[in-house]
């Protein structure tokens, strides 16, 4: 996973509340069992006037010339609600988005961001709106979002912060605790035998 340290980019606004993962990547755009080939379907129903022909809607924020190269997306409250599909984050990342700033996130989407090196930043709605189309610098170590002279601090739990800063493979990290997990499991097997099932034939 690519570490996330600092990011300087124009912030592209999509300031709608309850942007759901069906809108970010519709089920019908999830055409393969892998994690790639999804950027083309990102926001397909909103981004294209004709989805089949892939005719861009010039009014959609990501299609505007000033959005070119933008790596920061601004969203409304409860961003990423709905389906757990990680494809929503894969599609954003493949498109080039590295950071989403919103007043609040749906929990599965937020966790999916962190597992894919995409930083979810929570700021008050007015602060998010004021970042629209501005050049913004996000500094994860300092936990700040800076626009000109204005600096916003943001909260993030220490664990996801470290995961993102280090670009860590979280499964490898957890597997270092395998002995502790094995000990716990042995004790639990005695206490809650009904949890443990026979291996299928």
């Amino acid at each position: 996973m690519t570490p996330f340290t600092t990011l300087a980019s124009r912030a592209v606004p999509l300031l709608r509340d309850n942007v759901d993962t069906d809108a970010i990547i519709p089920s019908r755009e999830m055409k393969t069992t892998g994690r790639t080939g999804l950027a083309d379907g990102l926001f397909a129903p909103w981004r294209y006037l004709d989805v089949a022909a892939r005719t861009p809607d010039p009014e959609f924020p990501l299609n505007k010339p000033e959005a070119a190269g933008g790596q920061i997306l601004l969203g409304g409250a409860n961003f990423g609600c709905g389906s757990s599909r990680e494809h929503a984050v894969w599609a954003l990342a493949e498109y080039g988005i590295r950071c989403v700033i919103a007043p609040s996130f749906a929990p599965i989407f937020r966790a999916n961001c962190i597992r894919n090196g995409l930083l979810p930043v929570t700021l008050p709605a007015e602060a998010v709106a004021a970042l629209a189309w501005r050049e913004v610098t996000v500094d994860l170590a300092a936990q700040t979002v800076t626009r000109g002279d204005i600096v916003h601090s943001f909260e993030i739990e220490p664990e996801p912060r470290e995961m993102l800063l280090g670009g860590l493979d979280v499964i490898d990290l957890t597997l270092k605790s395998a002995p502790a997990i094995a000990d716990w499991t042995a004790n639990d097997r005695a206490a809650r035998p009904w949890v443990y099932l026979e291996t299928p034939a």
Partner: protein, 460 residues
């Protein structure tokens, strides 16, 4: 330290393996469930990384999301390219040694319907699946929640997840539901009152007289929509109904006589981070009017003022009535409302009546193959088909549009499902979510209709 603990606290404490260096916790995962839409991706990615499934006996997979629901189905799907999801999940499941309920397995069905049916979910367990509606299974008293594919890989490879401790919320439904008002209406009323983001960061325990009075299947309907509330999950403390429901099911204990089971409830005086109280007796049947489940309203009310975009998409103005709005498609199905009790209640209202000729398609898709067989044994399938509904094999079907059955843009559906997002059921489709009773009443009328009036006619 306060010794009074919530049910969530108890399950968390039981499953907390260790703390992490950064203040999170390694939490043991007792069950993982996969489906063909996201399962192949997770298993293939694990295999590519050379990682084995930690305990394959506790990992299950099923074909539900894009599997065809028409008679005589195989691996083919209406969705172009969909077969690969089925065949690759099958191959990956076999290679990993996990239990698979395949397309035509007698136990096939929607994940959150078959897991309780088979006793895979149990009170006090942790269960995760790369599917947001995993919260449904909290109705059995488990901590069950939806995760992404990467987290599913993590759980399968390590037996744990790294979690921040969520906050707790109790939603208490007081009083007794009026006739014709259901668990679905309770969920939609909560969403209407507190918004689609209202549960963010919380595990929500549903409690109170009206919740205790629900049967197990109705409890699943209520918990199903905790994800629509952006909660981590919903949970209901197990009681005698829960233990009676689960005892003897294939993967469940024959008896629930271990003292452990009786500890699985919030202690008297346990403190929740947030409390919400709702008078269940005051609730009416609810229908969504807009493009978020939070855009829901009593069926006999006026449409409230919402985001302009939502009014524009759905084609309905604030201040107007929802009753009488013409409907094109009626759907009974999904992990929300396609269990035997749902089909029984719908059929009881439908018996002897016919779907309006104005309805383009009316469809019943049982939540599982077992539900389908049980319904057929009772003759419910004939009630539906004689009234003009199609009767299908089990799957997620019209709950979302992956490229399968398609209706013209602007078509309006009344649907017993959980999401009314823009385009959820297809490009330009306008979805109204409601109880199976409201779907039946609306299908008969050809327009959004109050099931209580139909019930009165039936009783008269």
């Amino acid at each position: 330290m306060d010794a009074k603990r919530t049910l969530f606290d108890k399950i968390w404490d039981t499953h907390r393996v260790a703390g992490t260096a950064n203040g999170a916790a390694l939490v043991a995962i007792d069950r993982v469930f996969l489906h063909e839409r996201t399962g192949a991706a997770a298993l293939k990615s694990m295999a590519a990384a050379g990682r084995a499934v930690h305990d394959p006996a506790r990992v299950f997979a099923v074909m539900d999301h894009i599997v065809d629901t028409r008679p005589g189905r195989g691996d083919g799907t209406l969705m172009e390219g969909g077969s690969a999801f089925i065949t690759e999940t099958r191959a990956a499941a076999r290679a990993a040694g996990i239990t698979l309920f395949d397309v035509n397995d007698p136990d096939q069905g929607i994940t959150h319907v078959i897991s309780p049916e088979l006793g895979i979910v149990l009170p006090g367990l942790t269960l995760v699946a790369p599917d947001s509606h995993t919260c449904t299974q909290g109705a059995l008293g488990a901590l069950a929640w939806g995760i992404g594919s990467s987290e599913a890989e993590h759980a399968m490879a390590t037996g744990v997840l790294r979690l921040e401790r969520p906050q707790t919320m109790r939603v208490t439904f007081t009083g007794t539901l009026a006739p014709g008002v259901t668990a679905k209406d309770m969920a939609l009323a909560l969403l209407a009152a507190h918004g689609a983001g209202g549960g963010a960061g919380h595990v929500v325990e549903f409690a109170g007289e009206a919740v205790r009075a629900l049967d197990i299947e109705a409890r699943m309907t209520l918990c199903n929509m905790a994800t629509e509330f952006s909660a981590m999950t919903g949970i209901i403390a197990p009681d005698d109904k829960t233990f009676a429901y689960l005892a003897g099911r294939r993967y469940a204990p024959a008896r629930f006589d271990d003292p452990h089971w009786q500890t699985l409830r919030s202690d008297e005086g346990a403190v929740f981070d947030r409390e919400i109280e709702i008078d269940a007796a005051a609730l009416a049947p609810m229908v969504s009017w807009g493009t978020s489940p939070g855009h829901s309203m009593p069926i006999d009310g006026s449409i409230p003022e919402g985001p302009a975009r939502a009014h524009e998409y759905i084609g309905l103005d604030a201040g107007t009535r929802l009753l009488g709005t013409p409907i094109d498609v009626a759907f009974i199905g999904s992990c929300t409302n396609a269990r035997l009790s749902d089909l029984r209640r719908a059929a009881a209202l439908l018996a002897g009546r016919r779907v309006s000729p104005a309805i383009r398609k009316a469809l019943v898709v049982p939540g599982s193959s077992a539900v389908k067989r049980a319904a057929e044994a009772e003759g419910l399938d004939r009630v539906f088909t004689e009234a003009g509904f199609e009767w299908r094999a089990s799957g997620c079907s019209l709950c979302f549009f992956a490229g399968g059955e398609r209706f013209p843009e602007g078509s309006r559906t009344i649907s017993s499902t959980n999401r009314n997002f823009e385009g959820r059921q297809g490009p330009g489709i306008r979805t109204h979510i409601a109880s199976p009773e409201t779907v039946v009443a609306s299908a008969i009328a050809g327009m959004i209709a109050d099931p209580r009036e139909l019930a009165r006619e039936t009783a008269a």
